[in-house]
Symmetry: D2
């Protein structure tokens, strides 16, 4: 079997102290790795050091699957939150969708172009509408209709399906169901949502209507990790578009659609390239 | 005395019905006016017609100061909210400022370049800090220190000064005092404020701190007319700037400063060119 | 047969003179039309008047197919370039594509959402690659492989196919063939191209490579009507995206793709809503 | 004398090889430095390694003025282009200006707010217009009127003045004279210009007129280092603003002014924070 996992990526944060970059880069250098990209940041008030480093492991003296164990003692000494991933290892990702297909379409199209470092073994929906789109891209589509009565039962089935497929990351591509805390707790900082407003403006339902009624001159979209507090999760990416009084509510929805799919796509790309480091309620984006 | 009021501008809104453009343009044409710019909009749901039309009155058969009277019967028939202004008639404008000078600086610099159709006979402040800047631009600077005890008294003095100077419009260039409802009611849709966030996100105090804590990826600024509800007035202009986790709170404040002054300047320009039509809690911007 | 052509749209430009708005709006009013949207502009130096007006013809006293004849005398008197269209009359549009499918995909997806006022009876390509995409949207796909030897012959066949289908507008969705002047002359200001640079920067081939080599910090895309001078046609829409030294040439191409499809889509929408008025080498966009 | 030079900044580029980050960070760590910010980039095709690292030298075992000598052997081994600066050491900067004052105004205002890590001991102009502005900020203003006949003589006097004041960096704040190659060669990648177009579009004179005539929908501004080829120097920063057919040439000039001053200010800030690394005709911007 060939060694496909060529590029190792370490995401790490820990209390700041002298020598962190030096000792981490030595760890890589001494084992024959070549650093391709390194980005670090020290939060000046909190004194927290965060880093993303990617290195070529082609001539690395230890095997990819041994790197995590080898780095562990250092990480422990630093009291770090950390994870080592491989750029070439595709993240198993499920897409959840309801009726609106634009975000799903965008994700699948880019996926078909190989833009993301992900693999999509399945799509889950509470409505049958997007099945033909899933079929076009030849991805299994699983229908879980949800009523208030059977929501928990259906979620359990979804969780089993996800577990069976070793799903790591979930994209909510305009999935119009509130996910329970039980579900969220199993995918901490692994569920990527797209909210159709410039958070924290217009939290909650019908943000385009809220924006229209308020008479804002700019609308936005926000992609964030889902946490137990609705619309309060760490923000990955946001963008905006200018509107005017000539835009009807429908025009806002149409313009917003373009934002939603681009912002979600960028968030998925950042996540899949291991560029997002969550620290509390915020993210650091290493680009 | 020469006729300096060359370009008349009508801002009007009324219930929609057939023939409004025709009858208004006839009013202008029949008196020898030449339309320079006409922009209209019908809100499809509310069935409200709004219009801004500017025309050259050089060969107009009635004098500028008689146009309003001449148009009145038509406006009455249409049941319209309306106003006729003249592009060449500079709006008497007071600038209120506290300690931060960047917005005042921007306004005065553009004023000195003759960018706005305004005249600034006076600056009012509750702090002496900006006096040298006012001096540089040779504009009288009036200091009204404000304590909770004398706030109402000072406001009355301000109102008198404004009235004595026939002030029409007030720019709050980061004026850090809440203005009383009594004051606001005398300058309905005439007080232009700059709020240092992308409203309605981060309403209230210290929006940059709120933005920093929330971890947004974009910050904004909003210029709006002041109404009795804090930060809820009709929005004139907004803009945003991208930030990252590398930006400290101070960096947000610094970047935000650039936004604030540009957004405020654009709002002042739109207002001074009679391009802003307020309808309820929203504005139509005729550009 | 029902009257589907409800909203008439007049695009007109002519030498400026007094009374144009009045007489045109009277023409509409006297026949019972209700103006929905009117936008005019006078170029101050050239003294050219341009206008777009849309009106509801539901209670219009003359039939849709007689409006053009009825308006002719007025237009003649004004010495105008003009055209009357109907919002509900879908423009017959052919899409030309080569191998890159992102622009075609974007157009077809929006088309399927009914975003544009167009009908796409056929797709033409010089490569078979995009046939499956055309099939997915159930649009006839016509293959015209082109070699230097048979280019003119193939173009004649294309022109015949277009004529047979009464095609009015052509979208070049990254069609990688130079179109001959003969072809262009038959579709004056009817061929919408997307150029993958911020024109006039990087005219000609391989603009992303040129941008990469020059080290610009922003790349762009431009949609324009095709004229006989390459990349010199009237610009309909442009947009940009920020890049950095970290972006490889491939990253520019990938980011540029997102721009191209959005800019082309916006241009198609503006064109299909009769919002683009061409004046010489420039456009007026009535939004 | 206190040690004011607290934060050392190394900018370095060299052929890529294994261990560069490790050895450079060890150099810092072993001497007691604490890395505050590290950013590196490897150009994948050219195999060139570039890095910016900033570290706290408070407990550094060697003195600030000895660091360059201490690092020299390493840099030589790497065959590197490099420079060590100190964040707290203000760059002696001269501003050149002609008649337009907006860029000078912006620079001086931000300078007065201490936004830049620069010191401005003098302003040079070929016109007396901006003297009052210089006076307001209490900066010596040197007038060098230039005619074709005495251009070289005046430049020599300017160069002497710059040398006497130990000027390191020159900001051309809309200085409307072509600088000779002799002058440029003494300030390689040290002269920051603002060009009032989105380079490489509209190279040369009167770019707003060119933009107006071409009918572009977006205008831009570009800040770059001055090289012997006009408008071809490495680009530091660019930005754009949307325009429409309603914008007259004067409106473009006015809107462009806002761009010019912001883009120039950002370029000066990047330069003064030692975030710009020039590689051939391009820059790397470490932010």
């Amino acid at each position: 079997m060939e060694n496909k996992q060529k590029t190792a990526i370490l995401l790490l944060s820990c209390p700041d102290r002298r020598g962190l970059v030096s000792r981490i880069s030595n760890f890589i250098f001494e084992r024959g790795g070549n650093i391709l990209d390194l980005n670090e940041h020290v939060e000046p008030d909190e004194k927290i050091f965060s880093l993303r480093v990617a290195w070529d492991t082609e001539e690395f003296s230890i095997k990819p699957n041994e790197i995590t164990a080898a780095f562990s003692p250092l990480a422990k000494e630093f009291n770090a939150d950390w994870k080592i991933s491989f750029a070439e290892e595709k993240i198993k990702t499920a897409v959840f969708v309801s009726r609106y297909d634009h975000c799903l379409q965008e994700i699948l199209w880019r996926y078909s172009l190989n833009e993301f470092g992900i693999e999509i073994p399945l799509i889950i929906s509470n409505h049958p509408d997007c099945k033909t789109l899933a079929d076009h891209y030849k991805i299994p589509f699983h229908l879980f209709p949800i009523t208030p009565a059977d929501k928990l039962v259906q979620e359990e089935k979804q969780l089993k399906l996800l577990a069976d497929n070793k799903i790591d990351t979930i994209i909510l591509a305009r999935y119009m169901q509130i996910i329970t805390n039980n579900f969220i707790s199993r995918y901490q900082n692994k569920i990527i949502n797209i909210h159709h407003s410039f958070l924290p403006a217009f939290i909650g339902g019908n943000p385009y209507k809220q924006a229209y009624d308020r008479g804002v001159k700019i609308i936005g979209a926000t992609s964030h990790y889902v946490t137990e507090e609705l619309d309060e999760g760490p923000i990955i990416e946001q963008d905006i578009i200018r509107i005017s009084h000539k835009d009807t509510l429908n025009a806002l929805i149409r313009k917003g659609r373009d934002l939603e799919r681009l912002v979600l796509a960028r968030a998925v790309q950042l996540h899949s390239e291991h560029r997002v480091l969550v620290r509390g309620k915020k993210t650091l984006i290493f680009t």
